[in-house]
Symmetry: C2
DNA sequence: CAGTGGTCTAGACCACCGC
DNA sequence: CGGTGGTCTAGACCACTGG
């Protein structure tokens, strides 16, 4: 919160509002964030240079740099020395394996592959409706997916996607789906996954789950329940992933 | 990396070296870090105001602020608006329960209590010697500890501490040990725990472990293997914690 | 080489804290 | 009220990138 400089900020259009209850760089960050969310600059592309931005907002360079820093910390922007400031692309989704170490008997393990086991449309249950901010009676897509390494089944996933946003996936050929879903969401549905939250817990496999993972009923497993969010911080994917508990391996930093 | 300003940086004493291959604020941060590590300013106390520091290093305020920001990000300093810049105290160690949710049948659960089951001196095994940077044949303290909530055993811990640093703990009355060990390390041994790394994995309880946790042999459990580091980034504690896998509950952010 | 972000300066003024 | 950190300015110069 700083210098309101009373009545020195009246600008022509009336569209933009001077800092109100915030620092100037905080307000600038909000303004730039809005322009990004509204699609003025496409993910992966560069925004105007800081000198230009500073001039266009009639603000000192350092102030603009501070605003940009906020958005970098937020994961919305990425700065590359000598090249420019870029709108960050979404998550690549390859982050599920970080909880597991599936060691193959041989040497190097291949990249994981995916197979869609089932896809159906159904009504959202209350929990899903709340998470997706959908009205009661709205529909969702539910997808079952098996991820394997070297033809060995490793992870069993259940995905739930809100409907109308992912309507483009209701008809498409599931056999042609990418292994990495998030880039596909972006390409096919225009949905950018910006961040996510994973809840980990342990359980025992049911008979059905065990069969698909080539394990025995009652085998210990890890359950990862993920909520994935878009740029607007709206939840746009619910995912439950099951994997062999004995393959679980995770490292956390403590501060 | 910036302005070397050739031959304009020669200072009197010869003790301090001008920026060499680094930015000036990077060098300043290193200098201040050294003064903190060497104990010039005690954890919890304030360092001189930024204006003074800037003057004493003949540097602009903004540059000094940037240096301080680095140390704040590192967790070494903490800034409090209107009060000063403070050397951060170490971890409080209460962070082990963050992986578990032990729900008691009743309402509110009491604070966890600890009981030392055993303490012995022994030779460091090769892995420990390497982690602690001890010579072969060096000794360590091994401690077994049971943490309970409302008299219900929850976590079984094995601690290994390098010797001579923790010599003060070889004779002290284990019954009088604090529940929070890290503040005790600091008070009794002068060892500040600055950060730690937790490796999580899954296993089944042995008969002995199960007995102590009031569970059955072969019960699923989570193993947390922690390495704790002091301000100098030396590993000063190895800890293995076992807990009921079905009480495990952890949330991770994905960016 | 021109254009980008990164570092640094010297100063002003503001907001928070505790006396 | 004096002292602290927080914001902001208007400029200079440096370092990286790519044509």
């Amino acid at each position: 919160m700083t210098g309101t400089r009373i009545s020195a900020d009246v600008q022509g259009t009336g569209a933009e509002t001077p800092p109100t209850g915030q620092s100037r760089y905080g307000w600038l960050a909000a303004a730039l964030r809005a322009r990004i969310l509204q699609g003025e600059w496409v993910p992966g592309e560069a925004i105007p240079p800081e000198t230009l931005l500073a001039k266009s907002y009639s603000v000192a360079l350092g102030t603009m740099r501070q605003a940009l820093s906020l958005l970098v910390a937020d994961g919305l922007l990425e700065r590359r020395h000598g090249k420019g400031t870029f709108v960050k692309a979404g998550l690549d989704g390859a982050t599920m394996m970080r909880f597991f170490r599936f060691r193959q008997s041989g040497e190097m393990q291949s990249a994981p592959t995916s197979r869609i086991l089932a896809r159906k449309l159904r009504l959202a249950d209350p929990h899903e409706a709340e998470a997706f901010a959908l009205p009661q009676g709205a529909s969702v897509i539910e997808v079952q997916r098996l991820r394997s390494i070297d033809a060995h089944p490793c992870l069993l996933e259940t995905l739930v996607l809100p409907l109308p946003a992912f309507a483009a996936l209701t008809e498409s050929d599931t056999a042609a789906w990418d292994d990495l879903l998030y880039p596909m969401y972006q390409r096919v549905c225009g949905v950018v996954i910006h961040h996510a939250q994973d809840h980990l817990s342990f359980d025992l496999l049911t008979a059905t789950q065990a069969k698909r993972l080539a394990l025995e009923k009652g085998h210990p497993c890890v359950r990862v329940q993920r909520q994935a969010f878009d740029l607007f911080n709206r939840c746009v994917e619910l995912r439950t992933t099951l994997g062999d508990a004995f393959a679980f391996e995770y490292t956390a930093q403590v501060r």
